[in-house]
Amino acid sequence: MDAVSLVEENSIRKMLDQKKNMEFFLSVCVGCGMCADSCFLYVNNNKDPSYMPSYKAVHSLGKMYRKKGRVSRRELEEMKDLIWDKCVLCTRCYCPVGISIPSMISWARSICRSQGVFREYDQTDELSK
């Protein structure tokens, strides 16, 4: 898909509306940061906060909810790194409050895919930079 083409805000909004439970999740996440240590990518990447499960969910799906679907293609491209390269959906993350973080990241991927934003098969760090 053309990199400059516009995103369909309505279809993003429709997809966001389908998951009321995720809106609920985002409204109760207290940002305690306790999910961090349950993520092996966080532990093995010098404890970089951007690898934290809640960071990945809040700055991808959370951003879409906050902007009510009015996200630009550029923002979706920025999320790509967060939800594909920094998360492998191993579903090991622990949330003290009981939020299902992987389901949110997975749905953020689905929304990105619907707009033609996805991780290419042979894309490595060297190639993308």
């Binding site: 998951k19 996440c29 960071y55 009981g98």
Partner: protein, 236 residues
């Protein structure tokens, strides 16, 4: 002013608080569904393994140190063993938050006036000390939110709002008890802050109060307390 705050205003607050909680609970039951898993349908070897694990038979207990070992292993598997300091802080913080307002003498006098019943109370100096402890723990959470990179990276104004909505009634209560500044104004502020906190619970990040109980006890997950019987519904 005082009569209004502890009269009609309190009634409105309680209606919003209880109504909001009921809405949140209703929302949870709408978004999740019952899932039936028959334990007898599991393969037999896995079942015995699970049963043995529940009974902790992997640690043979011959002496007192084995008991400690058993508990150490048990705790190491949980959040309590991984983050002992944070666990202690958060448990004490939440216990004080829930129970201190109920056992305060002043609150029970009002309760007795209104409804003719009262809860057991703690002495005023104990309540005072626990309030001070609560304020210190509140400062711990506040500083952690500012200073810890991982917490800061996911903080928004809504997190600060929730934190201050919780801390304000205790800080003003402490000031009112010690009669610092004008007693009347601080007391009004104390009542207003307390009422605002109750109103805020269903609608801000403080909604984790009902959500924690519902999600951790009722959703079936390897980390849930007990055996949950529900799961989040897809495509709702």
């Amino acid at each position: 002013m005082y009569d209004f705050l502890i009269g009609p205003m309190l009634a409105v607050t309680l209606v919003i608080f209880i109504g909001g909680l009921a809405y949140r609970i209703h929302q949870f039951f709408q978004l999740s569904g019952e899932v039936k898993i028959d334990p007898a349908a599991l393969p037999k070897d896995i079942r015995t393994d699970v049963e043995n694990r529940e009974k902790e038979e992997y640690v043979r207990i011959n002496s007192a140190s084995d008991v400690f070992l058993k508990w150490k292993i048990k705790l190491k598997r949980t959040f309590l063993g991984k983050h002992p300091v944070f666990s202690a802080v958060t448990i004490v913080f939440h216990l004080i938050l829930l129970f201190l307002p109920i056992v305060t003498v002043g609150h029970n006098v009002l309760l007795d006036d209104y409804f003719g019943f009262r809860f057991p109370t703690l002495s005023e100096s104990t309540v005072d000390n626990l309030t001070l402890l609560f304020i210190l723990l509140f400062l711990f959470f506040f500083l952690r939110r500012i200073l810890s990179a991982r917490v800061r990276s996911v903080s928004t104004w809504r997190d600060y709002l929730a934190l201050f909505a919780t801390g304000a009634p205790f800080i003003t209560g402490f000031l009112a008890f010690h009669q610092i500044f004008s007693y009347d104004i601080i007391l009004y502020l104390h009542i207003i802050c307390g009422e605002l906190m109750l109103i805020a619970i269903p609608f801000t990040k403080l909604a984790h109060m009902p959500f924690f109980i519902l999600a951790r006890f009722m959703i079936r997950n390897e980390l849930s307390f007990g055996t949950g019987t529900r799961k989040w519904l897809e495509n709702n």
